[in-house]
């Protein structure tokens, strides 16, 4: 008798000893049952495909370090009355860890296809903009550029070959004047920020005893994804914590900063503190609130307002002389750094942590986005044809406009440096836009043709799949001929 049949019968006899009398019958039955074994139709191909699909996803790892988003181990509920249950959430900040910046390497192509890439932010077209739908976007929007300057928003990222009415741009011919470029890497690492796990339901359960507006909120599933903390003291702050994105933003609690009826005289350029003072205000705020800065590079004070606010020459506009516009707040930018490379937007502007300082009060008014600087990296095929890279740069990338050669100005650009460019890749199937950081070459503009020329650099990504998309390979936006040579404003 086979051992397994004997073991089975022994277990059966333990349950019902009388069955031992029927052992001969049992053995025949068992043999018949073995012969009639049903086929579960386990499909090896299915198993292999499932394994491939699973391993294509990033694998979350245990991180024993506490971070800015370590979930509290306990929730404190203070009950005052049936309608006064207060939920207090304590966010633990680990003061002993010197830094939380890290990069985890995944397998090649882990972030999927880059073919859905868009330039700039999906909503605002400006590099470094806030995530779609976030309130932070409105408070941190940079000043709109002068119509005399090129910008991402003007390009609109609408794809190749489309005609659109242009703002009053001059045509530019970009010419490379730098050293020979050698591209030896077959692959480049693309980075993605590691976001905290979502779907936490702890607090919903704890809220089940609380009735909001007569409704039992605990009757719904799901978890808390964001919350606000408001400080109503003078010059207090409103802090928004987005648990799903892993982002904290700090904003003025408007009601405590200025009276709604308070009138302010326009600011003058002389009212803006020196860069050193603005940097000191920013550094002090970040230090006092324990913001981990290990994932950022050296700060710089944003100077765009000086360019945007310039009055237009009367000869061109025939308008009254404009006042120089000085914004209420000036920002200090701490560029994101990943593996010692700074991140820029597709226009070449450094992007990262933005600390805005209210000029009237000389106080920090807004900080965004505060987040963990932990990343995943995945290798993607790199473009090795340097001639193609230079040709794309000479098309001007975001800033190239074709049209009548008459009136076009020559812009020279020099030897590039290596940066990471912020890209958003849209997955149509999941309706999700993913922020990626892609190695790129930053070509510095050597001779801006006039004081209104905005771009300081021309950015060309090195991931081949990106360059093969219509966004890059199809060429820049074509403009209508009639407007190419003259500004629209009369």
């Amino acid at each position: 008798m086979q051992k397994n049949i004997k073991d089975l019968l022994d277990e059966l006899y333990t349950i019902d000893p009388s069955l031992q009398e029927h052992e001969a019958t049992l053995i025949r039955l068992v043999e018949k049952i073995i012969a009639a074994k049903p086929d579960t139709r386990f499909d090896r191909a299915f198993a292999e495909q499932l394994k491939t699909e699973l391993l294509a996803q990033p694998l979350r790892v245990n991180d024993t370090r506490t971070s800015f988003f370590t979930w509290p181990k306990s929730v404190l509920a203070v009950a005052g009355s049936a309608f006064a249950v207060v939920l207090v959430v304590a966010v633990v900040v680990n003061q002993t860890n010197p830094g939380l910046h890290s990069v985890v390497t995944l397998e090649k192509g882990a972030f999927g296809s880059l073919a859905g890439a868009q330039t700039g932010s999906p909503a605002f077209g400006q590099g470094g903009g806030a995530p779609l739908g976030s309130r932070e976007a409105m408070s941190s929007m940079p000043a709109s550029p002068s119509p005399m300057n090129a910008s991402d928003s003007a390009v609109g990222a609408t794809g190749a070959g489309k005609m659109m009415i242009a703002a009053p741009y001059y045509g530019y011919t970009f010419v490379y004047k730098g050293d020979a470029i050698s591209l030896t890497e077959n692959e480049v690492p693309v980075y993605r920020r590691l976001k905290p796990m979502s779907g936490r339901t702890d607090l919903v359960g704890a809220l089940s005893s609380v009735r909001f507006g007569g409704m039992n909120i605990g009757s719904f599933g799901g978890g808390l994804t964001s919350f606000d903390i408001a400080d109503d003291s003078t010059d207090g702050y409103m802090i928004n914590v987005n648990l799903r994105e892993g982002i904290v933003s700090i904003n003025q609690n408007w009601q405590t900063w200025y009276s709604p009826t308070e009138q302010h005289a326009p600011l003058a350029a002389s009212d803006v503190p020196a860069d050193e003072k603005l940097l000191a205000i920013s550094e002090s705020f970040l230090r006092d609130h324990g913001v981990d800065m290990s994932g950022y590079g050296a700060p710089s004070v944003e100077q765009n307002w000086r360019q945007y606010g310039q009055p237009m020459p009367l000869a061109e506009t025939k308008m009254a002389e404009q006042q120089i516009y000085v914004p209420d707040s000036i920002s200090v930018i701490y560029p994101t750094k990943i593996n010692d490379q700074e991140v820029v937007d597709t226009g070449g502007t450094k992007t990262g942590l933005r600390v805005s300082i209210d000029i009237r009060k000389n106080k920090v008014s807004n900080v965004w986005p505060i987040q963990d600087t932990r990343y995943e990296s995945s290798a993607y095929a790199a473009e090795t044809d340097s001639a193609r890279i230079i040709k794309l740069a000479e098309q001007g990338m975001n800033y190239g406009y074709y049209g009548d050669a008459k009136g076009r100005k020559e812009v020279t650009f020099g030897t590039p440096s290596r940066v990471l460019v912020q890209q958003y890749v849209y997955n149509e199937k999941l309706s999700v836009s993913t922020e990626l950081f892609v190695p790129a070459l930053s070509f510095p503009v050597l001779n801006p043709p006039n004081e209104y020329f905005y771009p300081k650099t021309i950015i060309v990504p090195l991931a081949k799949e990106l360059l093969d998309t219509p966004m890059y390979g199809g060429g820049p936006i074509r403009t209508m001929e009639a407007t190419i040579d003259k500004p629209m404003v009369k």
């Binding site: 089975l8 059966l12 049992l26 579960t40 394994k51 699909e53």
Partner: protein, 191 residues
């Protein structure tokens, strides 16, 4: 071949090869476990995919100190089956697995011709059991889990699972004809 605890630790540190090794150890078992609850190949594959996706995405939540990995995995699979049937039927109906369905009209079950006669008769006895009793029986007999693993998966003590199994088997033995009982008891263990 690394032992399971080493593989688990490696997976939780981000080692996908380690997950691949664990997957290979369990994919057929889990699929079979789910198949015997659904008796439909495509449904079993869908639920197996869902179960492993949940396990993969939540691997960091597995705590070896709280029980064996197999029990954790079976619990995920079991919950996926329950969710599947609950989604298919009105809330008022308590559907835990295919035994709660009308097998006579279930072509998937009947497609398993060899078991047709057994199931049609066994069904009436299984339906008289509570979902919990069915759970213990099918996990022990069909899933071949130890009582310790069953206890972990169901959140019960090992002793109570053994007692429940023994009493339920005895009850089935009283109610079922001998041939049917043996086919049921041994059929699951042999498969």
């Amino acid at each position: 071949m690394l032992n399971e605890s080493t593989l688990i630790a490696a997976v939780q540190s981000g080692d996908k090869d380690a997950f691949s090794a664990l997957y290979e150890q369990y994919v057929k078992q889990i699929y079979t476990f789910i198949y015997y609850k659904t008796h439909h190949k495509e449904t079993a594959e869908d639920i197996t995919s869902l179960a492993f996706m949940k396990a993969y995405n939540n691997f960091t939540t597995f705590d070896p100190a709280k029980g064996p990995f197999s029990a954790w995995l079976y619990r995920i699979a079991r919950n996926c089956v329950v969710d599947h049937y609950r989604a298919k039927k009105p809330v008022s109906m308590d559907i835990e697995d295919m035994w709660d369905l009308d097998i006579a009209n279930n072509e998937d079950v009947l497609r398993d011709v060899h078991n047709r006669l057994v199931f049609e008769d066994v069904q009436k006895y299984m339906r008289e059991l509570s979902a919990e009793q069915r759970e213990v029986i099918t996990m022990r007999i069909w899933g071949e889990l130890s009582f310790k693993e069953i206890a972990e998966a169901l959140g019960k003590s090992e002793g109570s699972c053994k007692m429940m199994f023994g009493r339920t088997i005895a009850k089935l033995r009283e109610q079922m004809p001998l041939t049917m009982f043996i086919a049921f008891f041994l059929g699951g263990k042999l498969f």
